[in-house]
């Protein structure tokens, strides 16, 4: 590819688990490098492992490649290799043009210097010339939104301001290649959105972007293709939607988390104790499936009678986001608790949640009084079904119809769409 800004071929990087040995190997490597011996870098010495092995991809100008994978999959290592901070053990990396990094935002900021001074220092670190910084100074300050604090030392900045300034300098270097490492994890929603807009803008101006993120939403939004580094070092490369689906399927295949499990007695309880929780899918012995009926069965042991108790449930996804709440606003029916053990069944006609692992929190309430509450009633895995989309976090249903020109009535032909 002639237009490729980043070309990575057969890239390998090994690390060593033991610090002592790592030092020893490092000395050996450096020694042989200095005297010009070539060493067999394919060989793994004791304690070494391949953090990345045989990774290859290229990123063209104006393209954004997402890098996803669980923690420790080698995402940051890959980014540091492309940035030139680390040296590869195998293979070859070619980078063309000025590189902007959002790996460590605000690296090189000195707490004692003012925002203004730090812009110049950080700009110089990222390879900008003085006249370039002068020309874009107002833009940088404006984007970061720190006009009022420009001459205050950055040690007095809030972490958000610090972040914003660092990001702003980095994206105003007009890089040919931009490396982003989960930089957007901090910062409020408005700034995140601003950053993503800026990244898209750079992309349409021809910057090649390597984007590491845990956020599927961000990845979906800005990337064209994705590299999945998970489990196996060499990675899977493909269209974003396709790779994300693989990633999700892989996470769900994790055998340690099966369907609903028995919860403990609850983190908070008074007179009521939830002794077991069972989450079923369409049939009593099937796991919960996305978009289909789901039944939650609870065994409750009460020491007192409560008339009209309410059940409340909360679904937290694997990113620890609260995605759905079932409480008195959207649950019909109430529970009359008797003294002793009772089985309560809770019916969800359509479990419109994306396939993922969920933590189910919830409990029983009597008016404002909490009778029992558990932060982890159950851990459930909602499985993929044919009728659920690949992307997004919400699950909507819809129906598409052709409306006649006059707008007076619906045509009989109907189609379903998700």
């Amino acid at each position: 590819m002639q237009d490729a800004r980043i070309e990575v071929s057969a890239l390998g990087k090994k690390f060593c688990r033991s610090l002592g040995r790592s030092m020893l190997y490092g000395l050996a490597d450096m020694g042989s490098e200095l005297i010009g011996l070539s060493i067999d870098r394919r060989r793994l010495r004791g304690g070494e492992y391949w953090a990345l092995d045989d990774v290859g991809f290229s990123v063209a100008a104006g393209e954004c490649l997402g890098v996803i994978g669980h923690n420790g999959a080698g995402k940051s290592t890959l980014l540091k290799l492309v940035a030139g901070v680390l040296a590869p053990d195998q293979g070859r990396i070619v980078v063309r043009g000025r590189v902007g990094t959002l790996i460590e935002i605000g690296a090189g900021f000195h707490p004692m210097l003012s925002g203004r001074e730090n812009i110049y220092v950080n700009g110089a670190i990222l390879g900008m010339r003085r006249h370039e910084i002068d020309a874009r100074f107002d833009e940088i300050v404006d984007f970061a939104g720190i006009e009022a604090f420009l001459d205050a030392p950055v040690k007095h900045y809030s972490s958000g301001m610090y972040m914003r300034l660092g990001f702003s300098v980095a994206v105003h270097t007009r890089p040919d290649v931009l490396l982003v490492d989960e930089a957007l994890a901090v910062g409020d929603a408005a700034f995140r959105s601003k950053c993503l807009n800026r990244i898209e803008e750079l992309k349409s101006n021809g910057t090649a972007i390597l984007f590491v993120s845990h956020s599927e939403i961000d990845v979906t939004r800005v990337t064209d293709r994705c590299l999945l580094l998970a489990g196996r070092p060499s990675g899977i490369l493909g269209e974003t939607a396709e790779v994300l689906q693989r990633y999700r399927a892989e996470r769900l295949a994790n055998p340690t988390l099966a369907r609903g499990k028995i919860a403990d007695a609850g983190d908070y309880r008074s007179a009521v104790c939830i002794s077991s929780v069972e989450v079923c899918g369409p049939t009593t012995d099937s796991p919960p499936v996305s978009g289909q009926r789901c039944t939650i069965l609870l065994s409750v042991n009460s020491e007192q009678e409560f008339r009209g108790a309410k059940l409340e449930l909360r679904f937290w996804n694997s990113d620890e986001q609260l995605v759905a709440v079932l409480d008195e606003t959207n649950v019909t029916g109430h529970i009359d608790l008797e003294v002793g053990v009772q089985r309560i069944s809770f019916d969800i006609p359509a479990l419109d949640l994306m396939p993922d692992h969920y933590r189910l929190a919830g409990g029983l309430l009597n008016g404002k009084q909490i009778l029992s509450w558990s932060f982890e009633l159950a851990r459930i895995c909602i499985e993929v079904s044919a009728s659920c989309p690949n992307l997004g976090i919400a699950f909507l249903r819809g129906e598409a119809n052709v409306v006649s020109e006059s707008g007076t009535g619906l045509l009989p032909a109907k189609g379903n769409a998700q």
Partner: protein, 283 residues
């Protein structure tokens, strides 16, 4: 966006070695390209070091002044036998202390420079030798301030060495080169094993007594070795000769010392360049 010719960088496991001798050209080109960064970092270091201080760089004058006063006192009280010196003792000792401190402060500042730079070194790529090089700023700046003090003392004691004073410039440059060359290597070591910084601290503290800084060059047998073995000593002795308006007494020692300084710088820089990425990985 710089269209047209884009600089191309290639990273392989042996990128530096594969370049062969061309690597020297790369090193110089990279350093030239980073001149603005060097200036920025140097400026930053200076600004920061005096920003939270009332007396600022005046502190730099206190240490040599007190050292020289102490030794002048000890010497005059005959508590410490100090032989005859080429120059009036206060001038002799002050210049010695000032030059030694340039060497010592440069050595310790460069040694700890990479470790102090933190994520800048481990997360961002740029010619890292700039970080080490910029650590020279403060010692050099303070050296310049102290020179004023030396000048004042020279006027008081009526020492006027004439035009040969200008030959001090290459001597000072060699002193810096030696400290920087050693510092480049030690900064790498210190990035991985922080003991190096402490070690340098000790060496610097006692090193002053292992060179004819506060006393004339020893003439008796075992101690003359001090002068031959300490690469800093010939530079200092030559500078004393020049200040006294004399020819350099031991040009062969000076030559060896100068060669050592330049080798330190060359080898140190090359080594730094070859291993920096491997060291960063373990920082």
């Amino acid at each position: 966006m710089s269209d047209g010719r884009l600089t191309e960088r290639v990273y392989t496991s042996d990128a530096e070695r594969e370049r062969g001798m061309a690597v020297w050209r790369d090193m110089l080109a990279d350093l030239w390209a980073a001149r603005e960064l060097l200036w920025r970092l140097a400026h930053r270091d200076l600004t920061v070091s005096y920003r939270q201080s009332l007396l600022g760089f005046l502190w730099a004058l206190l240490m040599p002044l007190l050292t020289v006063m102490l030794f002048a006192y000890l010497s005059s009280m005959r508590l410490v036998p100090i032989g005859a010196t080429l120059l009036p003792y206060p001038v002799y000792a002050l210049w010695g202390v000032v030059l030694w401190q340039l060497f010592a402060a440069t050595l310790s500042a460069t040694t700890s420079s990479l470790a102090n730079a933190g994520p800048l070194v481990t997360k961002v790529d740029f010619p890292k030798e700039v970080v080490v090089l910029s650590a020279v700023t403060r010692p050099l700046f303070e050296f310049a301030i102290k020179l004023l003090l030396v000048a004042v003392l020279m006027v008081i004691y009526d020492v006027s060495p004439g035009l040969s004073t200008w030959l001090l410039v290459p001597l000072v440059a060699l002193t810096l080169a030696m400290a920087l060359g050693i510092g480049l290597v030690l900064s790498l070591a210190n990035l991985v094993v922080r003991d190096i910084g402490n070690l340098v601290g000790i060496v610097v503290m006692f090193g002053m007594f292992a060179a004819p800084v506060l006393y004339p060059p020893p003439q008796t047998e075992p101690f003359t070795l001090l002068v031959v073995l300490n690469p800093f000593s010939p530079l200092l002795m030559a500078s004393h000769d020049l200040l006294a308006g004399n020819p350099v007494a031991h040009p062969e020692l000076l030559g060896a010392s100068a060669l050592f300084a330049l080798l330190c710088l060359g080898i140190g820089w090359r080594l730094f360049r070859v291993v920096i990425r491997r060291v960063t990985e373990r920082a």
